[in-house]
């Protein structure tokens, strides 16, 4: 049977190519601005986050993040709860790094109440904080790859996470919300086998990370989509209070663990990773390299783990004397600070929670302006934010 040429496809162009070229190159090509709504349910936003983007052709003219879909009012809730209850509340802010969120509250209390924390508890805290940081960074390693169309990193990252997750589960019983810190120390000593499991987890990550880094950072497509995309200037970062891996990707090398060491961070040998260009590529590179530094800290802390008590001398009722204190710590996503005002009660008079993602995301309109629509997802993904951390 003869093929019906007419039906299979007429390959002669509908428009004359010369005609099209004339239109495209024509100076009178008019474009119109339109508003594109991204979210609140969008896979690239890691939660309920909305972006109101004004676009002109392929270019973002303006982008306004709209937040508040997850607002739980922690700053009000904590005023009606005592300090023991707040431990479990605040660990739900940034759900990827639960144990890191618990820390500043306890440091606040220990400062106001002048509690001395035993060495073993301090080392134990460091081990857990850094393991949680690795978990968090691996999660963003996975999600950033997935957002750029590479699904393999997700499987690798989750395989590596599992051993570390198991160690934390052995010690605390939780996988996300650990509730393990107490004013003056930690809840209980770790079970036998914890250190072996933790070391197994972090050594595995260290051994394989270079390979994983190559998988994305050494990939041509990845490079084309991230290099010189979404550049965040150093001064702008300061001006908005951007911190964490995002600030360090813009050539800022501050890290609370180095600048104002808390716990026993000054006893470990680790480097602050930073990169000069401020684009998506550098932010991601810093994030990946930080995993190695954290793993180094975990190894050193377990090596030097002292024996002894895990709780300091703490009164039966936790009641901070009247006073004010601001404590900041290096959360995986940036500077987490608690400003505690106590009037001597068992609950805080006021607790201002300064979360890293809030400041980091507030700079987005500035970064997104003038970028291409196709780069928007890469930029959003490279800002490593957790919605619960923004909305509190």
């Amino acid at each position: 049977m003869a093929i019906d040429q007419q039906r299979v496809g007429d390959r002669t162009p509908v428009h004359d190519p010369a005609e099209i070229a004339k239109i495209v190159s024509g100076a009178n090509l008019e474009t119109e601005q339109m508003v594109l709504n991204v979210g609140p349910q969008h896979p690239a936003t890691h939660g309920v986050f909305r972006l109101l983007a004004t676009i002109d052709g392929e270019v973002l003219v303006d982008a306004q993040p709209i937040i508040g879909y997850m607002h739980r009012g922690y700053e009000k809730l904590v005023e009606a709860r005592d300090y023991r209850q707040i431990t479990n509340l605040v660990s739900r802010m940034d759900w990827l790094s639960g144990i890191n969120n618990e820390l500043p509250l306890h440091l606040c209390l220990e400062k106001l109440m002048e509690i001395e924390v035993p060495e073993r508890a301090q080392y134990m805290r460091v081990v857990m904080l850094e393991m949680n940081r690795i978990l968090n960074h691996l999660m963003f390693f996975a999600s950033f790859g997935a957002e750029l169309g590479a699904i393999t990193p997700t499987f690798f990252a989750f395989r590596e996470r599992e051993d570390i997750q198991l160690a934390l589960e052995m010690a605390t019983g939780g996988r996300m919300h650990f509730g393990f810190f107490r004013p003056g120390g930690i809840r209980e000593d770790v079970p036998r086998g914890f250190f072996a499991q933790a070391l197994k987890g972090v050594r595995q990550v260290m051994a394989r990370l270079d390979q994983y880094e190559d998988l994305l950072v050494g990939n041509e497509i990845f490079k084309q989509r991230t290099i010189d995309v979404g550049v965040l200037d150093k001064e702008i970062a300061y001006n908005y209070g951007v911190s964490g891996p995002i600030a360090r990707g813009s050539g800022i090398d501050f890290d609370v663990r180095k600048d104002e060491p808390y716990l026993v961070y000054d006893r470990f040998d680790f480097e602050v990773q930073s990169a000069p260009n401020g684009d998506c590529f550098d932010r991601f590179w810093v994030l990946v390299r930080e995993v190695v530094e954290s793993a180094k800290i975990v190894e050193q802390a377990i090596e030097a783990m002292p024996s002894g008590p895990i709780m300091g001398k703490v009164p039966r009722v936790i009641q901070a004397p009247a006073g004010e204190v601001y404590v900041r710590t290096e959360n995986p996503l940036g500077e987490l600070g608690f400003y505690l005002i106590s009037d001597g009660d068992r609950r805080p008079y006021r607790l201002k929670i300064r979360t890293p993602s809030y400041n980091n995301v507030s700079v987005l309109p500035h970064v997104l302006k003038g970028q291409m629509v196709a780069d928007m997802i890469a930029i959003l993904g490279s800002f490593f934010f957790v919605l619960g951390d923004i909305d509190r």
Partner: protein, 185 residues
């Protein structure tokens, strides 16, 4: 210019004392951070100075919020603190220094100048403080709600705003250790 040691907060106090003198109150060092009280009309000048002055360079914007101190301490206390204030924290990454700025505002008509021209990062923080405390920021381009729905009534972080569940049952119940003996369990 004198060389400043890392974390030398006493130096900041001297600098502020000589440049702003009587316009600042309560220059005291609290847990290694400098605490300053400044009146609203001097605020913008102060933060600009802190940000730009060589040797200080408080260019990292940490946070801006509010505090309602109207319920602070016992009711019959002699020296009550100012009932409503704006709280600002700045950090100097170059010299590892912190400064906390308290700006007392009139609780009947709370207005404070916006610092968004000095620190653009304050835009969201001021919006949040506006909806939570009802403080107006003069010069802010858009003070619409950030978290709360548009038709929400009340200023949640003021002490006069009670949580509904706490109105029904006061806190703490009788579940605390020292009250357990009274049969609270």
């Amino acid at each position: 210019m004198p060389v400043i040691e890392r974390g030398d907060v006493g130096h900041v106090r001297e600098r502020l004392d000589s440049d702003f003198g009587t316009r600042l109150k309560d220059l005291r060092i609290n847990h290694g951070h400098l605490d300053v009280i400044v009146q609203p009309h001097d605020l913008v000048e102060l933060v600009t100075f802190l940000r730009d002055a060589p040797g200080l360079r408080f260019r990292f914007f940490t946070f801006l919020s509010g505090v309602d101190r109207s319920a602070f301490g016992p009711e019959d206390a002699e020296d009550k603190p100012h009932p409503l204030e704006v709280l600002i924290h700045l950090y100097s990454p170059d010299h590892v220094l912190h400064v906390t700025i308290h700006v007392p505002v009139d609780p009947a008509d709370p207005v404070c100048p916006s610092i968004n021209r000095v620190f653009a990062g304050a835009l969201w923080h001021e919006r949040e403080t506006h909806e939570m405390f009802g403080i107006d920021f003069d010069g802010h381009p858009n003070l619409s709600n950030l978290y709360l729905p548009e038709d929400f009534e009340g200023r949640p972080l003021l002490k006069s705003f009670k949580l509904p569940s706490r109105m029904v049952k006061d806190w703490p119940g009788a579940k605390d250790p020292e009250e357990a003996a009274a049969g609270g369990r």
